[in-house]
Amino acid sequence: MRRQRQLDVPLLAVAALLTGLGVAMVYSAGQTDSPSALVAGAWRRQLAFASVALVVAVAVRRASVRMIEWISPPLYAFSLVLLLVVLVFGTGTGTAASVKGWLTIGGQRLGQPAELAKLATVLMLAQVLAARREVPRALVELWRPLLVVGVPWVLVMAQPDLGTGIAFIGMCFAMLYWSGVPPWMLLMLASPGISLLLAFSTGLWGGWFVALAGLLFVWRRPIGEAVAVLAANVAMGGVAPVLWDALKPYQRQRLLVFLDPGLEPGAAGYQVAQSKVAIGSGGLLGKGFTLGSQKRLGYLPERHTDFIFSVVGEELGLLGVAVALTLFLAVLLRIVRVATRASEPFAGLVAIGIGAIWLVHIVVNVGMTLGLMPVTGIPLPFISYGPSFLLVSWLAVGLLLRLSADGRGQADAIGL
């Protein structure tokens, strides 16, 4: 019992530090020369919800792992229902104004079901994977976990919310890997996606296709599976370009903008350009807290939500960026530690799943501010303004604290 009360102080501290940084940056985002009442007051709401989130995390920490396992299927089912509902009644916001991602009742935005769905899917997938007794020998054996991820993924992509879709994929691969699915099988699973990415060049795709065929032979895959994988690759890499050519220019443009809203010159392209200017002009030490000129004069779009990291870059400089990134890295390394020390597979998988989702969020969001990633409108954990997202993040922190407390205390290379 004593060990169960043990608190993972570093994890809690780093998460709290990030949340504090977030509140500070949301406050700064509201400090502009032509103030907007909504943004200026956002930091108070963020602070209020941070305290609520802390209570939620403490409450979740008190639950047992069994109870969490027990609640996973109904939570998963509930989140699927919400995703369906939001497809019909959803509304958009921010950089993703055309995305039906928000659940709105009576004009009041309650939150994004996709955020809850991510956590629910992690729990559900962890349960399914943990129930396995043996290492899978063929791709077909992965149909159950793939179905668990695939259903919410399709619903999310239908919104269409590319960012969350990427998060699902990242989470899926990370958890499959952690559950012991061999890397070559993951490569086979990923191969159609790689084909699609390489489809722009016939030579590159051809090389990849030959290499894949060779690998399938070396790995001595059953003929049926090999044919299926190669067929999927031909479909994605060989047929897609042909279909692409058959499309009319405006249809292509629509698809491209769907995949990468940054291509739309007016809105997202401008946002990224201004964000790069803000970050680049911040320099080594930044322009000073609340003093960023790009932000103050309203050039930075969505400065309190999706582009809040640009405010960090402009006002706190490379130093602030390094501190923020270090805190994020610390959280993620701590999660790896929790997963490694977990007393049972379910717990480790949940930790890895949460970590993978946060990693995708961080990489995509931060990369977006420098134009390295498409503008997909996914928020930065702990930092971006958004009460429901903050709640879900701290729900996850609560889970992690619970799992950490149940860990066996196994020796680890890194003491984080």
């Binding site: 032509s34 890997y177 790069k276 004069l297 990134l325 990693l359 990369g367």
Partner: protein, 586 residues
């Protein structure tokens, strides 16, 4: 799956490696943007938030030869709007129009200026009245992007007296902006439109300064000063001209509202233009800051066309003032001396296919060339012209400069009319449409001969000196003189004596001035259906000429009228110089 702990540790190592690589990549990307490319992004951020507001420079002051100011700058106000798009400009203009009068045509003109240079504040009023400025200042908060700043405004203290020579300034036109001469000029700037202001635009134009204002993403001005050090405008040194303001004023006063015509006064030895005047005149100050179309139209359609610069563009038949050219050609060819008499005495007319009348019906009798000049006898010059012959007369006229512009440093000078060769008549009237008797009319300054006061002044500058004509110069340059008269000193002295006789006892005898010997020649040009134009071209003092005056008075009836005005002008100049010389100036 039962998993050995070591397997988990191996997986954890890979996961940590992936995390490390991902964060290192992101960190490097930020290092590149914030440290390596920092300077470029700082520049972009600056150009994002800073807008340049031009500080108009004052044009150079223009002075007369004594340093008296003839064109200067007064403090004025310009009103402009700094907006990101034509649409926002239109909406701002609608707001402005609620406060001060601004019709839709004016608003469209502002939008056109904006389109020319979208990054500059679009000028709404070039020269805003104080009432407009204070009304707008009160409503400043409601008009985003409103910029009111002081701007020097051109002022001509003696506008009506100086109109013909100074010209005026106005906003650069869209067409001018495309010309190579105005490369680097921006919409809304002032440029010289005519006269000296146009001729010496490059010399007079100031170098615009700039200040910076900070604008937000919607182009609203957030901070007005101290954002970045401003660059002050620079204006050039004053431009000193050869003009004599006192003389210009005197001429303007003399012409008043009743006389029409033009005057050019210059130094015969240097070509320095002392005065250049065209009547009726107008106040060039009315053009500054943009003249309302109605006012401009009324000026354009005013009686006798004040906008027509008679000194520069007025081509008038030179009449008897041109007889000196005929005389010079006869002397040069050795056909006559000052004492030569013609075979046929003047009885008031001369028969050559038909009767060619002398202006004096009574006739001048048997007279010498010197007397013919003094009395302006037409019959004498008919016969001299016939001796010279049409071909020689035309070629001689060309050599004396009657087919060329005077070369004055003012824009848009008209080219005089002079047939350069016999083929001119064939072209103009057809081979059978004219006959050689035209030489008679040409030799007394009629027919296809029209000269401006400037070209006549240039010709007389040669007569007044040593036979070299001086190019008129409003602004002093190295003196340009060309020998046009190939007369011996004795011949030239004879011509000069005859010209002095014109005023002492000839056609201009009524125009004598006490204490001043004046030489010159009257001219009375028929001008049907109007009354005769009066010419006088001459110089003074006759023995040592310091001023040549060329004057035309439209419908002045007789050359003696012009002579009276001309001699007053000479007197004013020479006597003022005498008194001023006594007082140490400068």
């Amino acid at each position: 799956m039962a998993v050995h702990p070591n397997v988990l540790l191996r997986r954890a190592r890979l996961v940590r490696a992936v995390l490390g690589a991902a964060f290192a990549a992101i960190g490097l990307a930020f290092f590149q943007a914030q440290v390596l490319q920092n300077a470029a992004y700082v520049r972009q951020a600056e150009s994002n938030r800073l807008r340049e507001v031009p500080l108009p420079a004052a044009r150079a002051v223009i002075t007369d030869r004594h340093g008296e100011v003839v064109a200067e700058n007064l403090p004025g106000y310009t009103v402009s709007l700094l907006t990101p798009s034509a649409d926002s400009l239109r909406s701002a203009l609608r707001t402005v129009a609620e406060v001060v009068p601004l019709d839709s045509a004016q608003r469209e003109a502002v939008v056109r200026r904006f389109r020319r240079s979208p990054t500059r504040p679009a000028v709404v009023f070039n020269d805003a009245a104080f009432a407009v400025v204070s009304a707008l200042e009160e409503r400043r908060a409601g008009i985003p992007g409103l910029i009111i700043q002081s701007a020097p405004k051109r002022f001509y203290p003696d506008g009506p007296a100086m109109a013909a020579v100074l010209g005026y300034t106005s906003e650069i036109s869209e067409q001018q902006l495309l010309e190579p001469r105005y490369e680097g000029y921006k919409a809304g700037q002032q440029v010289g439109r005519t006269g000296l202001e146009l001729q010496y635009e490059e010399r007079l134009h100031g170098q615009e300064g700039r200040r910076f204002v900070e604008v937000d993403a919607r182009n609203r001005v957030i901070r007005d000063d101290g954002v970045r050090a401003e660059e002050l405008p620079r204006s050039p040194e004053p431009l000193r001209t050869n003009l004599d303001l006192d003389l210009q004023r005197f001429i303007h006063g003399y012409f008043g509202d009743s006389l029409r015509g033009a005057v050019v006064a210059m130094e015969p030895a240097t070509g320095a233009v002392l005065a250049l005047y065209s009547a009726p005149s107008y106040d060039i100050n009315r053009f500054i800051g943009g003249m309302p179309r109605g006012e401009y139209d009324s000026l354009r359609t005013a009686p006798h066309d004040p906008l027509f610069n008679r000194a520069l563009k007025g081509n008038y038949a030179p009449a008897s003032t041109w007889k000196l050219a005929t005389a010079v050609l006869g002397l040069e060819m050795g056909l006559v001396t000052m004492d030569t008499r013609m075979p046929q005495r003047c009885t008031g007319g001369y028969y050559y296919g038909r009767v060619f009348k002398c202006w004096d019906k009574e006739g001048h009798g048997d007279i010498t060339l010197a007397e013919a000049i003094a009395k302006s006898c037409d019959v004498y010059f008919y016969q001299l012209g016939l001796r010279i012959g049409l071909t020689n007369l035309l070629a001689g006229g060309v050599r004396l400069g009657f087919s060329q512009r005077s070369g004055v440093d003012l824009p848009l000078e008209s080219r005089p009319i002079w047939p350069e060769a016999v083929s001119y008549f064939d072209r103009r009237y057809g081979p059978r449409g004219w006959n050689r008797s035209v030489v008679l009319s040409l030799s007394i300054g009629q027919a296809n001969n029209a000269q401006t006061p400037l070209t006549m002044a240039r010709f007389y500058s040669a007569l007044a000196t040593d036979g070299m004509a001086a190019t008129p110069q409003v602004v002093a340059r190295p003196v340009e003189r060309t020998r046009i008269l190939n007369l011996t000193p004795e011949q030239l002295a004879g011509v000069q004596a005859a010209l002095a006789d014109v005023v002492s006892r000839g056609t201009a005898a009524g125009a004598q001035v006490q204490g001043l010997t004046i030489a010159g020649k009257t001219g009375t040009a028929q001008n049907p259906p109007y009354k005769d134009n009066a010419w006088f071209v001459g110089y003074a003092p006759a023995d040592q000429p310091r001023i040549v005056v060329s004057i035309i008075i439209e419908e002045g009836l007789h050359g003696s009228t012009a002579a009276r005005v001309a001699t007053r002008i000479m007197e004013r100049y020479l006597k003022a110089r005498l008194t001023m010389g006594a007082v140490p100036t400068d």
